[in-house]
Each structure stands twice: as C-alpha cells, then as structure tokens.
Amino acid sequence: MSLTLILFFGFVAVLLLALGWAVWEPRERRKIAADPCSVEERGQRHATYLPQIRQALAPADYEFLSKKVPRELQRRVRRERLGVALAYLAALRGDFQSLLRMARVIAVLSPKVAAVHEFERLRLTAKFAWRYQMIRWKLLTGLAPMTQLAGLSDLVSGLSVRMETAMTELGERAAAAAELASSINRRGLDVV
C-alpha cells in the first residue's frame, strides 16, 4: 500500500469518525436539552455540600478514630471516605461542566465572540479533563491528600455566582421577546 493511499484513507477515516461523533447525540445530552432548567440548577447543587465534605475529609476525625477504634474499622472508614471524595470529585466535575455549558450559551447568544477566549476555554477544558483523571487515579491509589479537594469547590461556586448576572439578563430578554411576540399575535388577531 502506498503512502498516498494511507494518507487519504487515514484522513477520510478520521473525518468519518468525527462526523459520527458530531452527529451522535447521547441520551444524557438529549435529556439536558429537553430540560433547560437542569443546566442552571446543576451549577450550584454540589458546591453547597462543601461543609459536609470538609467534615468528612477532616484529618482530625481520622486521628481521633485511629486512637479509639480497631484497625479494621479504620480501614472501613478510609474506604468510605475515599468513596465520598470520589463522588465529590465527580459531582464537582458535573458542576463545572454545567457552568461551561452556560458559558457556551452566553457565547452563542453574544453578538461578538472572541476566538481567543473560545480556544483558551477549549484548551483549559482538555487540560482539566486530563488532570481530573490523574487526581482520580491518585485518590484511588491513596496518594492524593483529600483535604486539597475543598479548594476546587470554591472555584466552581465563585464562577456560578458571576454567571447569575448573565443568566438574569438572558431570562429578562427571553421574557421581553415572548411578550413582544404575544403582543404581535394579539394585534394580528384583532385585525382578523
């Protein structure tokens, strides 16, 4: 097989894979698209559990337990805490993704979009995905200090607060547009 054949067949294979991915719509996406409220609600849900998560991951608790309870129970507590940390990390990623989705909605509905910002967000998202997997792996192998997870939540909750302004304006404009449309309809009915 010659190099030309490989180059063109390879390129077409990549294009077809990308086409399949672009056209394919997973069930989760369809559900989110059908329920626009879920996007706004998810942005704030998990970050509000931070105090409980902090409590669950506090080293003081663990030190206390190590003096009072047998080794078997300590292992069980460690296992359960790991489960909590992993679930929290996954939920945090969910929060972050919904915030990113909101950012995309704002980009779509903006009259002027800067390619620099869009590319940077894409690059940072890819970076985040890779690092998230690394942290997850470290947690699973017991190498990551769980207390540092708390800082991640602050970033997400801070972002969601700033997004509120944009979403409020979006809501107001949608309401104004709906009002305008209904008044035009009413006028149309009167004429008829």
């Binding site: 086409l19 950012a103 995309r104 779509v108 985040f128 949608a174």
Partner: protein, 190 residues
C-alpha cells in the same frame, strides 16, 4: 464541467453552514473564518500528499476540493455540537449526505489514481451509486415542506460576553493550577 459541479456543491455546503450558524452572529463570525482556514489547510494537505504527475493534476485538484468540502461539513457539525446549537433532521441529513459523497469521491479518486487502467469502469459505476445514495438521503431529508426559521436569535448585550468569558477562563486556569498542585509532588518524586 466537473469543476463547475464541485464549485456548485461547495457553494451549497457554504449555504448549509450559513443556514446552521448565521442566526448566532458572534459564533458565525468566528466559525466561517475558522472553516475557511480549515478548508484551505486541507486543500494544501491534499496537494502535498498527492503523487505529483501532470496527467493526474485534475484528479488531484478534484480530490482536494472534495476533501475540503468534507472537512468543512464535519467542522460545522462539530461547531453545532460544541455550542449545543439545534440542528433540524433535514439540515443534518443534507450535511451528512454532502460529507459522505465527498468522502466517497476522495476514496474513489485515490484508488483510480493507483489503478487507472483496471479501475476505470468500476470507478464510474461506484461514483454513480454514491451520487444516487446521497440523492436518496437528500430526498428523504426534504420529503416534507420546510418551514422558514427565524432569521436571528435574541442576543445578549456584547458586554456580558466580554465580562464573563475572561472570568470563566480565569476560573478554569485557577482550577487547573489547583489540580496541578495536587499532582505536582508526585511528578517531582518520579
């Protein structure tokens, strides 16, 4: 003649792209530039990757155009997926039809280039079949009358994007730094 047909198809693809994204002024302004650059890059790629014989120049040019068309269609569908833009089934089928037909032309031309003497009649037959298959897909997509869509969405004020986009990126960067701090000690130990 073949050149005119390909140019007409390229224009039709451009119209599909405009139809899908032009409602979103900001995204469209960015997307058409990226798609055009992408098409030019793919054209250059196909010229560089082709075998350089004068007798095959037309075939290579034809293939380059087809590959660019396919890349633009995939690009615009990736844009719609990334930005969660709603695409009607008819538009999607039209775009997929254009892309599959162009991809098939690229493969067909590449094989023809290598086995010119033996492959000629089969090339004609396969080309016709691919066109008929695409035509069937487009006919299916447009079997019902299409309703006219609203030309433009209600857009936000430009200041919102200018304020929010850098903040999102800053937050993401901070989050990445935070993750890096967790990961870094392990990297150092290695």
């Amino acid at each position: 003649m073949q050149g005119a047909v390909i140019c007409a198809r390229a224009l039709a693809v451009a119209e599909v792209c405009r139809h899908l994204l032009a409602r979103y002024r900001g995204i469209w302004a960015m997307a058409w530039r990226i798609l055009l650059a992408c098409a030019a890059l793919v054209l250059v790629y196909s010229i560089v990757a082709a075998r350089h014989f004068w007798e095959l120049a037309l075939l290579a040019g034809d293939r380059g155009m087809e590959l660019s068309i396919a890349a633009v269609v995939v690009g615009v569908l990736l844009f719609t997926r990334y930005y969660d833009v709603q695409v009607s089934a008819a538009d999607r089928s039209l775009a997929v039809g254009f892309c599959l037909y162009s991809c098939f032309c690229v493969l067909n031309n590449t094989i023809l280039e290598h086995y010119l003497s033996r492959y000629g009649p089969l090339w004609n037959l396969l080309g016709m079949l691919a066109f008929l298959a695409s035509l069937l897909l487009w006919t299916w997509a447009l079997r019902k009358p299409q309703t006219e869509t609203v030309p433009e969405e209600t857009l936000l004020s430009p200041g919102i994007y200018q304020t929010v986009a850098p903040q999102v990126n800053l937050r993401l960067r901070l989050l990445n730094d935070q993750l890096w701090k967790i990961w870094k000690p392990e990297v150092r130990r290695q």
